[in-house]
Structure formats: structure tokens, C-alpha cells
Amino acid sequence: MDKIKVLLIDDEIEFVETLAERLELRGYISKIAGDGESGISMLAKESFDVAILDLMMPGLSGLDTLRQIKDIDKTVPVIMLTGHGATKDGMEGMRLGAFDFLMKPLDINELLEKIKLALNPSAQG
């Protein structure tokens, strides 16, 4: 089986680079985008198995980025990250077609579980 390609979109570079490294250690291919726009352009150029998107970003917001990602490729599952205690944006993201959302700071195992589920929706539940 090919390696799973993950796109990480987050303005917090320290966070996203470390997360990418951890995913690579676990055999994923991870690419980083520092803001919404570059994430969208990368997604337009190449295909990814799953996208992980931070909702709190300067410039193009997480939810707007999500909308545009869904315009380009409806099938790519998006897992949202939020620093908020509130679930409001997360709910809105779900309505827009995101697969799920997770709270920061992340539990890596939880993330891996979600990625697995996203790639194999039939295993859910």
C-alpha cells in the first residue's frame, strides 16, 4: 500500500513542522502549508489522502479555506483543529463537509485514529 499523503495547513510553523515529523516517523507523507491560500494551491496541484486544517488562522480563515478545499476536491477528507474550547466553528465546519474536528493540544493517537477512519469511512462506528 502506498504511503498516505497528508496535507497540514496551520500558521503555527513550530507546531505543524513537529507534527509533520511525527507523522513521517509513523510512515506518512506529510506536506506543510503555512496559511489557507498556499494550502489551497498545493491541494490544487497534487492530490492528498487527507487534509488537517487549523481553524484559527490569520488571513484566509479556516472555515473559508475549508469551503475552497471542498470546491476543488469534494472527496478529500478534512480533519479540523481548533484551539477554542467552543465547538461552534467545529460544528459549522462539519456542516460544510469536514470529516471531524480535534482540539489542540492534540493527542497523536486520536489523530491517527481519525485519519484511519477518514480513509476508511466504512469502519466507522
Binding site: E12, T18, R22, R26, G83, G85, A86, K104, P105, D107
Partner: protein
Amino acid sequence: MFKKITDTLFFLNTEGQDHYRVLRRNIIVIMLLITMLPLVTMVVINSFQYRSHLRNQIIEPLYAMADKTKHSFELFLDQRLAIIRFISTTYNFKDLTSEQNIKKILISLKKECCGFVDIGLINGQGELISYAGPYSLLGKNYSEQISFQETQIKGQYISNVFLGFRKYPHIVIAVQHLTEDGQTWILRATIDTDFFNTLISSMGFSRQTDAFLISKDGTLQTNSLYYGKTLEKCPLELAKITSRSNAFEGIDNKNRKIIIASSTFSIADYILVIVQPQSVALKSWYALKTEMAIIFLTSLALIVFAILKMTSVLIKRIKTSDEHRENVLTELQHAQKLSSIGRLAAGVAHEINNPLAIINEKAGLMGDLIEFSKDFDKKAKFINLTNAILNSIDRCRKITHRLLGFSKRIDVKIEPIHINQIIHEVLDFIEKDILYRKIDIKLILSDSLIPIESDHGQIQQIFLNLLTNASAALEDFGQIEIETKNINNDSISVRISDNGCGIPEDIIENIFDPFFSTKKEKGTGLGLSISYGILKKLGGKISVDSKPGKGATFIVMLPQKPDELEVLNG
């Protein structure tokens, strides 16, 4: 100046209850003055005006009456004088000396005019030389008597009433006749004074009105109702009566207030006096005065009652509104404080969350690297270390999430909420305390609880308040029971019971009042009042049931959807 006065009157620098007492007193005094002053002034002016008006209405007619009566008397006396004068000119001295003639004259006089008792002829030396009448007076000498001397001087004479020789009250009228040959003689007649009394009674005075004649030296000439019989001395002050020939008010010898009208005779030394007691004359005035007094006193009582009542109500309202304002202010301040704390907490939580996420990933990566490398000396120790970091981060994450969650309760935000979930959230928050004190939490949460719309944050706060109170009331190892259920499918209820010390009966009524606290320094006394306020705003209700020593049960009811207006106005 005016402002200074009102300030002094209404805003004295007194504190607390004293302030209301002073305010109450001042309002009462001012209102009494404002209402009573015109009333009293009006009553006094009215009373004086009416009295003087009435007095004129009574005194004037009384004086007119006195004058009229005097005229009747004068007319009568004048007639008698005219008759005697007529006889003296019609008959000559010689005719009159005849006993037969004079008897004839007396008979005609008695027949034609009433009152004549006798008639006699007196010569120039004062000797009675001819007489007709019931007594034997012939030969008596009158030269020493005033009647004789006065007649000699004035030509005619009307005497005061006197007993004379005959010991019977009568008056004498005498007319002097001067003959052509220079001789003088006097024709003298006696008149019965009974006639005076008849004349007075014929004037038609009221029964309590006294009318009588007095001589200028104060002797009663007729019987008086109040002051004695004929020829007795009249006790009234004569100087006053004779000095003014009109009517006035006075006090008699019996200290009775009277109205006196008098009229002085011109043809005799008589004064006609009419006396009316004021109690009779001013009868209508006294009746009016009583009525006025009754009306005045009744209005006085009504005014005082109304003022006292109104002032009490007013002061009570002011007090309530002051208290209300103070409470609102305090609650507002409290809310603002909470809001600031909330915002601060949210900011801190948010700012900390990002570095926390980085630390989390870095530590995670460290752990990963150690775990994936095969030859690492202290692999186990390092894995333990990174796990410890990750655990600490997890604790921090919980704290920031809680802070963010609780900071959102400040403004009302109606959204679909799950009560069971909120109860879990709140329990998470007080978990430490509960665990530490080994309090047993028993949850009876309904699975089929209807979803309701309300404010997540505010409801969180209410349950936090109630659960904190419940745990404060408990000893270690106590129990809290939380039950949720549907009511009529349009609202839900949450029951929170503890088996702690309970609420004393005497304070159970006050527990929802602001600032009521049993925690002394520890509590603000706002917890339950805020819960009460929030629930009211959200269309819910809170009730309490407690017995001292048997624990307390709070029941919160929430509607499926709050009334929008309530929320806006709340």
C-alpha cells in the same frame, strides 16, 4: 436659598434608617403645613366674616325695634298729655274745682282712654283742691315734690314710676295752665303702669327677649325678664347704655353675653332697653360654628390620616426602589467583574493554548524519536519523562478548556443545550473537591430528556452554584443526588439534593435575596440571587425544600424555549 431649604428638608446627611425617618417626618410636617394653613386661615376668616355679618343682621333690627317701641311709648304718653292739656284749656279753674265736674271728666277719661286712675287739680301753692279717683287725697300738698316743681318750670311733666301716697306703681302726668289773670294751676293725672307692660308685650318680642324701661338713674320702670321687677335697681351698667343710643354687645351681671339695644325718650326721663342673650340672638351662628368645627375636625382627621398613610407608602416605595437600585448596581458591578474576569481568562487560555500545542508536539516527537530508535541507553527513563510532560500538558489543556468554557457565560446566548452534558461539565469542574472530600455523587439522569434551548454558560453557572452550595453543606462522605426528568414534554426539571445540614426554617425565605449569606466572610451572598435572576431571565424557576439536619433539595425548572421578551428585558 430655596434649594438650600429643600436640601436641608429632604436630603439630610443622615445614614440608613435614620435618613428615611427624617425624610418621613419632614414630608409629614411640610404636607401638614401646606394643607392645614389654608384650611385654618379659611375657617378663621370665614368665621369672623360670618359672625360680623350675622351680628349686623341681628343688632340693626334690634335697634330699629327699640326705636319703634320707644315711639309707641312716646305716642301713648303724648296722647295722654294732649288729653290733659285739652281738658285744662277746655275747662276753667272754677269748673274744675267742682267735684261733680271733675268726677265726670274722670269717668269720660276712663271710658275713652285706658290707663287713667285719677285726676286732680293743684293750685299755685301746691295744694290739691279738687280730686276724682279711688283715694282720698284732697288737701294734700305737693309743693315739695319734684313733679310739682318740674311742672311749674317746664309746663308739663311725666314722672318716673313711683309708689307715691298710694303705694302702688304709677306715673304722674301733669300740665300747667296759665290763666289770663296770671294765676297758675296744674292738672295732674295718674296713669296705671300695667299699661307699659301691655305695650311691651304687644310688640311681639320673642320669649327670651327682654324689653323694659328704665329711668335715667337706672330704676326699672317696668318688669324685666332678667333684671328684676318694677322700681328695682337695674344691674346693667347704665353709663354704657345711656352713653350710646344704639345697640352693642356686652356682659351682664350674671356674666352672660348679651346684645343690648336702647333708645332714649325725649319727652320723659325714660330709656327703652331691649336685651337679647347672645345664645338666642346668635343661635344660627352657634349652630354653624358647631357644624364648622365638626367639618374642620373631620377634615383635619382625614388629612392627617391621608398624609400619614401616603407618606408611609411613599417612604416604603422610595426605600424599595433605593434597595432595588443598590441591588441592581451591585449585580451589575458583579456582572461586570465576572465579564472582565471571563475575558481575561479567555485571553490567557487562548494565548497559552498555542504554545501548549507546540510543547505537546515537541515532547511527542521526542518520545517518538526515543521510541523508534533501537539503541538508546536510557530509553525507558526518557519515555517516562516525555510521558510526564505529555500528562502535564493534558492537565493544562483541561484547565484552558474549562476557562474558555466558563468565560462564555457572561452574555445571554440562546442555543440548543443538553442539560445532562452540562451537569457532567460542571461535575468535571468540581471533581477535585468532590474526590478530596469523598462525596458520593449519585446521578439519575433521564436518557430521554427533551433538548431545550437556553444559555449554556448561564445554566452552567447555576448548577455550579447549586453544587458548590450542596458540597459546602455536606460533611465528608456526604451524598449529592442529581436527577433530571421531563415535565409535560415542554419543560425539564433538575433536582439537586444533598443530605447535609439543611437550611434553618427562619432563613429559608431569604435565601434568594441578594447579599444573604450564611458563609460569612467567604460568601458574597450573590450566588443564589444570581441563579434566581438568571433563571427568571431564561423563563425558568427555582424552588427549595429543606428541613434542618435533613439536607436540602433545590429544583430547577427550565422551559423548552425561553420567552424572547423576557430574555431581552431580563
